[in-house]
């Protein structure tokens, strides 16, 4: 190839046209992110405000990548960089125009990069809810449960509370009872199913909420009618004109000939013309199908079966007819499809169940929302739904916020993995947009790589957008063809194999995607063709994989962009990982190993559970058996033989005789556990567990470095979990269930292990795909199964309820929908295979353990191999001719698991710290000089809330404030009537103290009494009278006993004798009993405090200091002279 330009360069250029909407098919390795970034830059260079352009990516990581590219382009332009590479040069040029736009408009993009709206759909929805919280019916944004465990719990709890409404008034027509009965009254199971439905309520909720189930039935049955008609029409259209009469004639002839009680062509008796394409004629059509095809679905070969005797003219005619019909492509499958047609009516029983579900599910969603409200947590679905609803509501009310109306360009990445919910949001945002009005949509994706069905991705939406557009917008369809990633040999191989695997047409409803050929990049070398390796069984497969890895590792130069093992499910990796470990090859397994599967972590879990629950025997025994203690069975038995005695109690029972060695271990372990138990409530759970673990020697029991990090991740999880109180064992397990062990991140770990889903968007020089022969997982059963079909008026829906527990026959409607689903699953599996292999840049190896049927072909069990088989069967046979079958035979039975008794049992030893192990001194603490004058934390009294005390405290506050004022005004200026006149003031002050209205008057009276009493008392008046050096609320600081103290005296002055007085007012009350005794006590109580005041005062002056306590409510006085001990 001469030019450096990729073959599809023109398409790439066109995609940047700023005024048009596009939908771009961008296959693997076609540089889609670059294209998106370029378009984003193009649009930005023309925008009024950066917020006009919204780019939506599938993950945060992708958003970050795109943001990086955009910013780098602008920065490169700013720095005046250029590039040899055309492509980069173009990007920088775009950056430059953004830069000048930025200057022109004063955006300051480089200073405020968060103005770039490149975000995930979740954060986009979230921002909408934030902008229009009332229209979104949120009111305020709230926390979103990001982890699976929390979401599961919310849905499960909602499901249970819905079921608990059994028999309540919300449970109309006994719906819940009906569902329970239908499912064997298994509440747990029903709850699980309901919860599963709640987790995908975005799919069905809007269809059923607010609808009268009665109306729905007609609607659904109408849909059934169309389904049947469609199928009939398809057959009808395929039967050639010229064959019709003959078909009618012969079918009638045959039906007549076969006449009798068990006539399988009964429906064709009296046939005089092609039947109508209507549900009523369905039986006749099925008659025709039976006439033409055998029960097993092949064209009839034995014509006598339907009454045509050999050699008769009719038989001749029939043979002719068949010959003609067999030529018609698609007719056979169209006829066969008639077998799977649902009826057009719901059975009554089935409808009742469906109706019951349609009652139960809205109850469950209502319960879920109640929980959201109670726990102030919600999920992404709720946010996404709220966002669409809000925009729709705003449109109706003609009050879209400017943040929405401002959007002029929407770019969506990975559009093949769009869900119905996201589609709806995009529709809502772009509603009213028209081609050519300056607003554009840019949808990018690769339908061949749509693999997120389990997250509600609908590849059909991509196809639909391409065919029909989105709303009024009809984006132009563009197809990129150049794969810059893979070597030419690989690209050829993909083209060759997948042409046959993918369909030959797009079909939105069936999720069928047509294959689109790729071209290798302009400068790609030829490279090596992929290879398939056949293995006899799982362990053989594992060793093949290890060989391949070793091989690749030996050629580091060819593998600078990495080596990866890709699998469909992490459970396929057990043997491979074991084998890699055995071979000493380090690897980086991303989200493969569950945290809880690491032995170090399961020991920690047990330690945690033991500390959480003293009666968790399993956990306590585990703690005693774990490597840090390692008690023998004999010792354990001594401690645990009495099941009614808690193990912790037994551990402290000195009468239990243990082996010397066991006793020594316990000597070490017991105090650690005691400390951990005793710090409950004082230290966080994490601190307790981590502390105990270290003190027990847990870290010394770690054998792989990565477990150091895993332990840290575990402790972090404990912290999160314990935020809302200490978790129970089951919550711990649930939280742990969603966490993966850390991958080995060291440089030696040069092999990556990922699932295909995780590998999406990544590339590696060498890709190894093992487990090709593994069977696929079946979909789990669902409470409701539904099908949304495009129709003239938008979409229409069909629902069918789950089959009754224990029932033998399955409902045809359910069965029909299920079939459609599994067809879609099949298509997705093909795409998964495509995604896996297209990760490779240079080398691709596939490894399979084929499971062959007797006829030498692989079983149809959903394995990836099955799809590939037609094109690789020859290879296989060529490689193995006879011996291959041997392998197949040995591994053909079931899962190839070797029978268990054949294996010699390997005893599993326990590992434990060596005898006499002691905790090392450990790292040293930091040293610092404490500030000499650090402020003391005030001492606290034990407080219990008590209304009377609280009231007294508040009265005291007001009295103090008033006394301060009286002192300022001078006691002489105050008297009882002035006090009485200030009642309103007291009331205001007391109410301002939070006193209940009912209490205010009484309290005001008391304030009044206090003031009047002090004013009427000579001593009282004296304390408040003007004196020299007087002060109220006098604030003094100083150093006492090496600490800075801050004091506030209620009143201080120097009397005529030159004595310094320090006085505190105390609003104590006392009822009955010995008042003097009470006052003595009070004096003792406050003595230290007042003497501290005096000690400070002594630093200021050398006068005699007297201390006084005045009790206005008791009209009492105590005084004493301060004797400084130092003098």
């Amino acid at each position: 190839m001469m030019s450096n330009e990729p073959r599809d360069a023109a398409v790439r250029r066109e995609a940047l046209t700023p005024s048009r909407s596009f939908i771009v098919q961008a296959p693997a390795g076609s540089g889609k992110t670059e294209l998106l970034s370029q378009r984003y830059l193009t649009l930005l260079g023309l925008a009024e405000e950066p917020e006009e352009i919204v780019a939506i990516t599938f993950t945060k990581k992708a958003a970050g990548e795109m943001r990086d590219r955009v910013l780098n382009a602008i920065r490169a332009a700013q720095a005046g960089e250029t590039s040899m590479d055309d492509h980069t040069r173009a990007t920088i040029a775009l950056g430059a125009s953004v830069l000048s736009r930025d200057r022109e408009r004063g955006w300051g993009i480089l200073d405020s990069p968060s103005r770039l709206r490149i975000q995930t759909i979740d954060s986009f929805s979230h921002s909408i809810v934030q902008q229009v919280p009332l229209d979104a019916r949120f009111g305020a944004v709230m926390g979103i449960a990001e982890d699976e465990a929390t979401r599961d719990r919310l849905c499960m709890d909602a499901a249970f509370s819905a079921i608990k409404l059994l028999g309540s008034e919300k449970d109309k027509n006994d719906a819940i009872a009906r569902v329970l009965t239908h499912l064997d009254n298994n509440v747990g199971e029903v709850a699980k199913l309901v919860a599963a439905m709640l987790k995908q309520r975005d799919q069905w909720e809007r269809h059923i909420s607010g609808n009268d189930p009665k109306l729905l039935r007609d609607q659904f049955e109408a849909v059934l009618g169309t389904i049947v008609c469609d199928a009939l029409r398809r057959v009808d259209r395929l039967i050639p004109r010229g064959c019709r009469d003959e078909l009618v004639d012969l079918a009638r002839w045959s039906a007549d000939t076969l006449s009798g009680p068990k006539n399988m062509l009964e429906a064709c008796v009296d046939l005089d013309r092609m039947p109508e394409c209507s549900p009523e004629a369905c039986a006749t059509w099925i008659g025709i199908r039976k006439f033409l095809l055998t029960n097993t679905g092949s064209w009839r070969k034995r014509h006598t079966d339907i009454g045509f005797e050999r050699g008769t003219p009719e038989q001749q005619r029939f043979a002719e007819l068949l010959k003609a019909l067999m030529q018609v492509p698609g007719l056979e499958s169209a006829l066969l499809a008639l077998d799977k047609l649902p009826g057009t009516r719901f059975e009554n029983y089935q409808w009742e169940v469906l109706e019951a579900l349609l009652t139960l599910l809205p109850i469950a969603t209502a319960e879920l929302r109640k929980l959201f409200r109670e726990r102030s947590t919600t999920d992404f679905i709720e946010v996404a739904q709220a966002a669409s609803n809000a925009i729709e509501r705003c449109r109706v009310g003609k009050r879209l916020p400017s943040t929405i109306t401002r959007i002029r360009h929407l770019l969506v990445d990975e559009f093949q993995d769009t869900s119905v919910m996201q589609w709806r949001l995009l529709r809502a945002v772009t509603d009213g947009w028209k081609d050519g009005d300056g607003r554009t949509l840019f949808l990018v994706g690769d339908p061949m790589q749509s693999i997120y069905r389990f997250r509600q991705a609908e590849v059909g939406l991509f196809l639909q957008a391409r065919q029909k557009g989105l709303g009024e917008l009809k984006p132009k369809s563009l197809v990129l063809t150049v794969n810059f990633r893979s070597d030419a040999a690989l690209v050829d191989w993909f083209n060759e194999k997948f042409e046959g695997i993918f369909g030959d047409r797009d079909d939105a409803t069936r999720g069928l995607v047509k294959f689109s050929q790729c071209d290798p990049g302009p400068r790609k070398p030829g490279g090596l063709r992929p290879r398939i390796f056949w293995a006899a069984d799982e362990s053989d497969e594992a060793s093949r994989v290890v060989d391949l890895v070793r091989d690749a590792l030996a050629r580091p130069d060819e593998n600078q962009k990495g080596i990866a093992i890709l699998v469909r499910a992490r459970s396929h990796l057990a043997s491979i990982i074991a084998e890699l470990r055995k071979a000493g090859i380090r690897f980086q397994a991303v989200d493969i190993e569950k945290l809880g599967e690491r032995a170090v972590i399961s020991d920690l879990v047990m330690l945690t559970r033991a500390l959480l629950h003293p009666a968790d025997r399993a956990a306590w025994i585990a703690v005693l058996r774990a490597p840090w203690c390692g008690l023998t069975l004999n010792d354990l038995y001594e401690l645990c033989r009495d099941h009614d005695v808690a193990i912790w109690t037994a551990l402290n029972d000195s009468t239990i005789a243990l082996s010397t060695d066991g006793a020594r271990q316990l000597e070490r372990v017991r105090p650690v556990l005691r400390a951990a138990i005793e710090t409950a409530g004082r230290k966080s759970l994490r601190e307790r567990v981590e502390g105990a673990w270290i003190a027990l020697g847990g870290p010394a029991c770690i054998r792989e470095t990565v477990d150091v990090e895993n332990a840290e991740a575990y402790f972090d999880m404990l912290d999160d979990l314990a935020r809302e109180g200490e978790p129970a064992a089951e919550e711990l397990a649930a939280a742990l269930g969603g966490l993966f062990a850390k991958p080995d991140s060291s440089d030696e770990a040069r092999v990556k292990i990922l699932t295909v889903h995780k590998a999406k968007g990544l590339e590696f020089d060498t890709v190894i795909v093992p487990g090709l022969g593994r069977a696929g997982q079946r979909d789990s059963s669902r409470l409701l199964i539904w099908e949304e079909r495009p129709s003239e008026t938008g979409t229409e829906l069909l629902l069918a309820p789950i089959t009754q527990k224990g029932a033998e026959f399955r409902d045809p409607i359910y069965q029909y929908l299920r079939t459609l689903e599994s067809e879609r699953a099949v298509e997705e599996t093909k795409r998964l295979l495509y995604v896996a292999v297209t990760r490779a840049r240079k080398q691709l190896y596939l490894v399979a353990v084929p499971k062959l049927k007797e006829d030498g072909n692989v079983r149809k069990d959903g394995s990836l191999l099955w799809y590939l088989w037609p094109s690789v069967a020859e290879e296989y046979r060529g490689e193995f001719s006879d011996s291959g079958l041997q392998i197949a035979a040995s591994s053909g039975d079931d899962d190839g698991e070797p029978s268990s008794d054949a294996k010699e049992r390997q005893p599993i030893p326990i590992h434990r710290l060596p005898d006499g192990w002691q905790l090392p001194p450990g790292p040293s603490p930091v040293c610092w000089t404490a500030e000499q004058d650090s402020t003391a934390v005030p001492e606290f009294d034990r407080v219990t809330y008590d209304w009377a005390k609280d009231r007294a405290r508040r009265i005291g506050t007001v009295v103090h404030a008033m006394l301060q004022r009286v002192a300022r005004d001078g006691a002489a200026n105050w008297n009882a009537s002035k006090v009485a006149a200030s009642r309103t003031l007291f009331r205001t002050a007391l109410a301002g103290q939070g006193l209940a209205p009912a209490d205010v008057d009484g309290a005001a009276a008391e304030v009044e009494r206090a003031l009047v009493q002090i004013l009427q008392d000579a001593k009282g008046c004296w304390t408040l009278a003007p004196h020299s050096e007087a002060g109220s609320e006098y604030a003094l600081s100083g150093v006492l006993d090496g600490q800075v103290r801050h004091f506030k005296f209620d009143r201080t002055f120097v009397d005529e004798n030159g004595t310094r007085w320090i006085i505190d007012f105390k609003t104590s009350t006392h009822e009955g009993g010995d008042l003097q005794q009470f006052l003595d006590n009070e004096q003792e109580r406050y003595r230290a405090q007042l003497e501290n005041y005096a000690r400070l005062m002594r630093e200021v002056e050398q006068r005699t200091i007297k201390l006084g306590l005045y009790f206005p409510l008791l009209r009492a006085w105590r005084e004493w002279e301060y004797e400084s001990s130092g003098h």
Binding site: L134, A140, L166, L612, H613, Q777, R905, W947
Partner: protein, 895 residues
């Protein structure tokens, strides 16, 4: 107002001369006071306390002057009251019932109101009608103002509006000099007050930068947040060690999110010696100043459990937490027995507990707890509706009665402070009397809980050398060294998120911060400058990754020198794990048998002994001899065990009534008999339940089980004549030297005296599980092997919906029609019509298993991988050490 070169020391000097120092937050006034004290203590032993206080405190002080001079008759609402008023107003909005987050809505409305007051944003413009949110705020604000006017209330934000006028009018003491320290932004409202003082003759200075010159600054990048925090910790240690008197600040913008991580990292870096120690530290090297919601303090959490128990009852999990709480009397003494109560509650599937239910559950084992719970129950008012204040008192009384927070424990300083915050909280709730007449216990509880979630509480600390705080908290604090983390470009400047309740254009116009990207940027720049001038050395850092997304350095750090962490953070600190990892080889020990039991001893566990020993000897030893059992976590509804029990009991009753096949055939009211048996079975299995839904559920179960029974009886009718024997009580047999209780579900006697052994099963059955050296279901074989006389048939009676039938060995179909005929299953005995050889084989195997059990044989040796599925011990036996386990396959039973 901001003379250059005015720095911290000038502010302190001003304070010395009697100036009033106003700070943006409490933290700053505290540190300023400390700085002042430090300065003074160098010269004197005693000094006048300076007038340093936060802005809010200052306004309140001014207000109080008005109150105590009688110049106002307005009542200042406290926080709880203001919140309640907003909640009332927002709650009466049209869409309120539909809102997913009503309480936060009220909070946002309140916040918007305060913003409007502070920035002088008018609330009555027509532009508010353009959007529902803004229109709502306009009407809420009006309602709020009206309510306040009517009741002579005033809220904090409006109070700040009143004060300046009063200053001008001379009703508030004027000041000589005001110094404002550390304000990132002074609101128009604040400015007005300042100006009022100025026009009354005050001098005013503003101090934004605490130091004259910017500190030496650098930027470092860390791999991720976790390593960023670690680097900051090790840097802090390094700094402190090089100058032991240094004051070090670590500033964390999103402190709340990383708080616990940070705490453990700093602990590990600074005071690792404390980690394995039980006791709390005497002196902290670092302090994190960030309040947490009061409800998160464990001492308060227990109070809420007690109150919830009284007000609405607890779930099982909550009850468990209460039983294990150290904050109730007797916690230590009854530690094990309380935990045991939890185990029992779980076993008995008690999902909801009231005070009296819990007290009676604890009755026999935990006298101290029972005593307190009883007292609490007696103390709880029976009135349905009471005033908030009465509820507050009742709550306090019930906690007292329950003995919370446990006198036996000495409380820490933090706990003391939390207690006093708690008491304030209750008092505040009590003050709601002003707004609400009466409420139910549940309503009060909900309010209290909400208030405790809102009340952010931070215990006062004693002043550690390293201070960790948030970005805003740091305003007005000065250090020797500062490290600011988390400054990546997505966070700084932050994405502008203006409140949706005020029209955005109006916000921008009024200079409301965070209202626009430009405002956000300007704000961030001010903060950066403030940080640069807050210490001699300033380190900015950012993480390169968050999750799997890449992050970049904030553009605000442009122009600041970049360095690498290793250069500035000293050597990484050693951790315990590093110190211990690989420090010794582990001993390896083969320990596969425990002590033997004496011959003839009676062993607990019945046929489970054989079952477990056969499936996995280790499990038999641990579960049966050591009692290592999983804690149950019951869920609502009937579980499989209960459902099985019901079937068993019902069948037993049925045949006790019918006795013979003849009676079955002759029975005229069979349906009634069946139903009667099932009903009483449900009762005996404690599956009835008390609530409405449980009763209804029991009804459904009754119908279900009756159906199954009817279906099974159809088979029985076609059998030859039999009599069902009375079930034996306590049949103990001797096998392999063990005395074991073995009971068959049912034994039929045929007319010739031969017996038919039947086991009811409600799940899947497989006769293969009787066979082999390691039978997985050895119950029937064990019974057969220990039965004298002829055995005509051995079978499972499967009673599963859709699968009701007999499966087993029955040479003569008339004796028992088995769906799985004897001959087919057992090729070895083909043609034989007697079970004798089979039974002999079983006998040998059963004997062997029993002997192994008795001898303490406890190897980890599973019959197959499936037996581990329902075993609680994988963590102990370590059969799958570090192995990936298969995902639990979803049952797809409709396929």
């Amino acid at each position: 107002m901001s003379p250059n070169g005015f720095a911290l020391s000038d502010a302190l000097a001003a304070a010395e001369q009697g100036a009033t120092i106003l700070t943006a937050n409490k933290r700053s006034s505290r540190t300023l006071l400390q700085a002042y004290d430090r300065r003074q203590s160098e010269k004197a032993r005693v000094w006048a306390t300076p007038d340093i206080l936060s802005w809010d405190g200052f306004v309140l002080r001014c207000w109080n002057e008005l109150v105590y001079s009688g110049s106002t008759s307005l009542t200042l609402l406290n926080a709880a009251q203001e919140r309640a008023l907003w909640a009332q107003i927002v709650g009466s909005h049209g869409a309120a019932a539909e809102l997913l987050n009503p309480s936060a809505t009220a909070e946002n409305a309140q916040r918007a109101w305060r913003l409007a007051m502070a920035y002088r944003v008018p609330l009555d413009l027509p532009v508010y009608q353009a959007r529902p949110e803004t229109a709502a705020l306009a009407s809420w604000a009006e309602a709020f103002a009206t309510a306040c006017r009517r009741a002579s209330w005033i809220d904090e934000a409006s109070m700040a509006d009143v004060v300046p006028g009063e200053v001008l009018a001379g009703r508030i003491t004027s000041r000589r000099r005001l110094v404002l320290v550390g304000f990132d932004q002074i609101t128009p409202q604040q400015r007005e007050l300042v100006e009022a003082f100025v026009s009354r003759g005050a001098e005013c200075a503003e101090l934004e930068r605490l130091r004259n010159v910017a500190g030496e600054a650098c930027v470092v990048a860390a791999a991720d947040t976790s390593s960023e925090i670690k680097a900051a910790a090790s840097w802090a240690r390094y700094k402190l060690e090089s100058s032991p008197e240094a004051r070090i600040g670590v500033i964390v913008p999103d402190l709340d999110a990383v708080r616990s991580k940070l705490e453990s990292v700093f602990r590990a870096a600074l005071q690792p010696n404390l980690i394995p120690a039980g006791a709390p530290p005497k002196r902290e090297a670092f302090e994190i100043s960030l309040g947490r919601p009061l409800i998160e303090y464990s001492i308060i959490n227990t109070a809420f459990l007690v109150l919830r128990l009284a007000a609405r009852g607890l779930t099982l999990a909550e009850a468990g937490a209460l039983l294990r709480s150290p904050f109730l009397p007797g916690a230590e003494q009854e530690l094990s027995s309380r935990a045991d109560v939890d185990i029992r509650l779980r076993r008995n599937r008690v999902l909801e507990l009231s005070l009296s239910k819990l007290a009676s559950a604890a009755y026999s084992r935990c006298p101290v707890l029972t005593k307190h719970l009883d007292a609490a129950r007696r103390g709880w008012p029976s009135d349905a509706n009471m005033s908030p204040r009465s509820w507050a008192e009742a709550a306090s009384a019930v906690l007292d009665a329950a003995g919370w927070p446990n006198q036996e424990r000495t409380l820490s300083s933090d706990e003391h402070q939390a207690l006093s915050a708690w008491s304030d909280l209750l008092a505040d709730l009590g003050s709601l009397d002003a707004l609400e007449a009466v409420m139910t216990a549940e309503q009060f509880y909900a309010r209290l809980e909400d208030a405790a979630e809102q009340r952010v509480f931070e215990p006062e600390k004693s002043g550690a050398p390293i201070q960790v705080m948030g970005l805003l908290e740091a305003a007005g604090s000065e250090f020797d060294h500062v490290w600011v983390v988390g400054l990546h470009d997505a966070a700084w400047p932050a994405h502008a998120a203006p409140t949706p309740y005020i029209p955005p254009a109006l916000q921008a116009q009024c200079g409301v911060p965070h209202a626009s990207p430009a405002a956000e940027l300007a704000f961030a720049r001010r903060v950066r400058d403030r940080l640069l001038h807050s210490a001699g050395e300033v380190v900015f850092s950012y993480p390169r990754k968050e999750g799997d997304a890449d992050l970049r350095r904030s553009p605000l750090l442009d122009g600041i020198e970049t360095r690498v962490i290793e250069e500035i953070a000293g050597t990484p600190v050693e951790t315990w794990t590093n110190a211990m990892f690989g420090c010794c080889e582990l001993d390896s020990l083969c320990d596969e048998s425990g002590p033997a039991l004496a011959k003839g001893v009676e062993a607990r566990g019945g046929t489970r002994i054989l079952e477990f020993q056969s499936a996995c000897p280790f499990r038999a030893f641990f579960e049966l001899r050591l009692g290592a059992r999983e804690i149950e976590s019951p869920q609502p509804g009937l579980d499989n065990r209960q459902r099985g029990t019901i079937v068993h009991i019902a069948m037993e009753h049925l045949w006790k009534t019918l006795k013979t096949r003849r009676a079955l055939l002759e029975c005229t009211n069979l349906d009634d008999v069946i139903e009667g048996c099932v009903t009483s079975a449900i009762e005996e299995a404690h599956a009835g339940g008390a609530s409405e839904w449980e009763k209804r559920l029991a009804q459904i179960e009754c119908g279900r089980v009756s159906d199954l029974i009817r279906q099974l009886l159809e088979f029985e009718k076609y059998r030859s004549e039999f009599t069902v024997l009375e079930p034996e009580q306590d049949r103990v047999v001797d096998i392999g030297g063990l005395r074991v209780q073995i009971k068959a579900d049912r034994v039929d006697e045929l007319e010739d005296g031969a017996r038919v052994l039947i086991d009811y099963k409600t799940g899947e059955v497989d006769c293969g599980e009787w066979e082999g050296e390691r039978p997985l279901a050895p119950q029937l074989p064990a019974y057969a092997a220990t039965t004298e006389g002829d055995i005509a048939a051995v079978a499972f009676a499967q009673m599963k919906v859709g699968k009701v039938r007999f499966t087993g060995y029955s040479p003569d179909p008339a004796v028992l029609p088995c769906s799985n005929p004897f001959r087919k299953t057992e090729p070895g005995t083909l043609g034989e019509s007697s079970l004798a050889p089979v039974v002999d084989r079983w006998k040998r195997i059963i004997e062997r298993l029993a002997t192994e059990y008795r001898e303490g044989h406890a190897a980890v040796d599973r019959a197959n991988e499936d037996v581990c599925k329902y075993c609680a011990l994988p963590a102990i036996c370590r059969v799958e050490d570090d192995l990936i386990q298969a995902e639990e396959e979803e049952a797809a039973d409709d396929e």
